[in-house]
């Protein structure tokens, strides 16, 4: 049946041409990411299963020793240091997420109640600080929280912080720095949700004599859950593994997982141990990501034009 064979080949040729064009256009970019990120990170993960020589470089044979080190076992016995650092990182990321969410709701609805023409400008001034360099906007907090800075004087007067110490370096300064750095990442998705809000539901709720917080909780809040969940992902995940903030504002008193990992590749090299720490951190990150994705699917998060 040549009549049906002809369109078949035409379809095949077109499909081949399409595949060829896909390779020519998308190929270079994808190849670049594979070569310069996927392969390097696979190597990093692999190093976590190797032994360490005297210089901290990875050598054969395969071993689970780096992971025992992560769990706190060493020649000196067991030590809870790493577990404390992991828990502290989780706690810092958690508090930063809650703080940004609590600030984001009033800010987003404040912007929503302003005239439509000024809203983009108000959003711009939310995002603007995050366009300045990480190091600059983080060290800027030392001007408020450092040993000889205004808020530290207040803390001294209230006897919250011992004299001759600053609020920074310390845990509270890290929380502040993380919340400051990631606030826009909570506000932007939440604002996108608020823009699509169906206000007729709110009016219906009011007609049923609901008011105040109850009205918000039953009519507004459920509609913002997709934005909130994206915000939680955008804040909690990078805050958990942040390097700059604990490094500049935390000091030794508030060491976080990011600094612990970095130390294994800079100051006191032990690559396999650092790689094993990275693997554990990524497992936590992936678990968080998957949990929130499933939640947002169940709670009716809608997709935008994404690849």
């Amino acid at each position: 049946m040549s009549a049906s064979a002809l369109p078949q080949t035409a379809v095949q040729t077109e499909s081949r041409a399409r595949a060829f064009r896909l390779w020519v256009t998308a190929g270079p970019g994808l190849f670049w990411i594979i070569l310069f990120l996927l392969i390097p990170s696979a190597v990093l993960l692999g190093i976590g299963f190797l032994s360490s020589n005297d210089y901290g470089s990875p050598v054969m044979p395969l071993t689970s020793q780096p992971f025992q080190q992560v769990a706190g076992f060493s020649l000196l016995g067991w030590d809870d240091g790493n577990i404390i650092i992991f828990l502290r990182s989780l706690e810092q990321a958690g508090i930063a997420t809650v703080v940004t969410a609590l600030l984001a709701y009033p800010l987003v609805f404040f912007i929503m109640t302003r005239p439509e023409s000024v809203r983009p400008l108000l959003m711009l001034f939310i995002v603007l600080p995050s366009w300045t360099n990480q190091v600059v906007r983080t060290y800027a907090w030392l001007e408020l929280l450092g040993p000889n800075a205004p808020l530290t004087w207040v803390a001294h007067a209230l006897h919250i912080v011992p004299p001759d110490l600053g609020i920074a370096p310390g845990g509270f300064a890290v929380t502040t720095g993380l919340a400051y750095n990631y606030l826009p990442y909570m506000i932007v998705p939440l604002y996108a949700s608020a823009e699509r809000l169906d206000w007729t539901l709110v009016e219906a709720g009011r007609d049923l004599y609901a008011s105040g917080f109850k009205l918000f909780w039953h009519t507004v809040f459920p509609q913002t859950i997709p934005g909130l969940l994206s915000g939680i992902i955008f804040v909690a995940i990078p805050a958990f593994g942040d390097y700059v903030v604990p490094q500049l504002l935390g000091g030794d008193r508030a060491l976080m997982i990011g600094s612990l990992i970095a130390n294994q590749f800079t100051e006191t090299p032990d690559w396999p141990y650092g790689a094993a720490l990275t693997i554990i951190m990524l497992v936590f990150t992936a678990a968080g990501l998957i949990t929130f994705r499933i939640m947002s699917r169940k709670l009716g998060g809608e997709g935008e034009a994404t690849i």
Binding site: I33, P40, L44, F110, T132, V136, A140, G241, A262
Partner: protein, 277 residues
């Protein structure tokens, strides 16, 4: 729509929000304020820190490297990302399912999701390995540019893709019917139509490059100190000085001025394009 919100709630929202706006800019303002510290043995405000800064050759060299890094990486990533976004939007099999079909998306989202510390350390190990086996790609400005391109490509691709996905597919059909071949149609139809997205992607790339410290830190060598690395090193060695504040002020000021300019130019253009023809 928002007239549902009663006046008392509006007042409460304002009472919370304005202080947050002030708090967002207080640390940055203090950096600027302390940059006008008096010269040693003098009182009052001065531009002393700025004159010290401008006389420092290291800062000039770091600025030059930062600019090369930002513009160089954003240029390459705009080219790669535009092609990538275009290709995925136009030539991917429609409605394809399965792992193979989703592979490009997985690859594109990896640099976005990966914590920048893991990103930086992966590059450190990779470049170290390549350098020790082949002698190429020693840690320096080139390795930094490569790393910056890698994290920018997905953002450019997503920007261009979103713009193309919002277009009428018949546009491309029409262009084909007018006997434009693939390359012609790309340069005469696609590029002009997605130009705002390409420019946006380029600016986003520059912003991401200027913002970054962590990835730069792990891919830099002793001879490739950029402005953020310079500031970080100076603070780690001897704490904050008026010179560092002066440098910080200039960096913050430049970004704020450029962002506000960009915002108002864009708004002006949008208004102009909405006028009835």
């Amino acid at each position: 729509m928002s007239n549902v919100v009663p006046r008392s709630v509006r007042n409460m929202l304002s009472a919370i929000s304005w202080p947050v706006y002030i708090l967002l800019y207080t640390p940055l303002a203090l950096v600027a304020l302390y940059s006008f510290a008096p010269a040693p043995n003098h009182s009052g405000h001065s531009l002393h820190a700025y004159s010290v800064l401008f006389a420092d050759g290291d800062v000039g060299a770091a600025l030059q490297r930062s600019l090369i890094l930002a513009i160089g990486s954003a240029t390459v990533s705009t080219a790669l990302g535009t092609l990538l976004g275009y290709g995925l939007c136009r030539f991917r099999k429609p409605n394809a399912r399965g792992v193979a079909a989703n592979l490009p998306s997985l690859i594109i989202y990896t640099p976005i999701i990966m914590p920048s510390l893991v990103f930086g350390i992966s590059e450190l190990i990779f470049f170290n390995f390549v350098h020790s086996t082949t002698g190429l790609l020693g840690a320096g400005l080139l390795t930094m540019v490569i790393a910056h391109i890698t994290f920018q490509v997905p953002y450019v691709a997503l920007t261009v893709f979103a713009r193309l996905a919002g277009l009428d597919p018949n546009l491309f059909e029409a262009s084909n019917d007018l006997y434009a071949n693939g390359i012609k149609s790309f340069f005469y139809l696609t590029v002009p139509v997605v130009r705002p997205a390409i420019i946006g992607g380029f600016l986003l790339g520059i912003t991401l490059s200027i913002d970054d410290f962590t990835i730069s830190f792990f891919t830099s060598g002793p001879g490739s100190v950029t402005l953020p690395i310079y500031i970080y090193g100076a603070i780690a060695r001897k704490g904050i000085s008026p010179e560092i504040n002066a440098l910080g002020t200039l960096m913050i000021g430049t970004i704020i001025v450029l962002a506000i300019l960009h915002f108002f130019i864009n708004r002006h253009r949008e208004r102009a394009s909405q006028l009835p023809v």
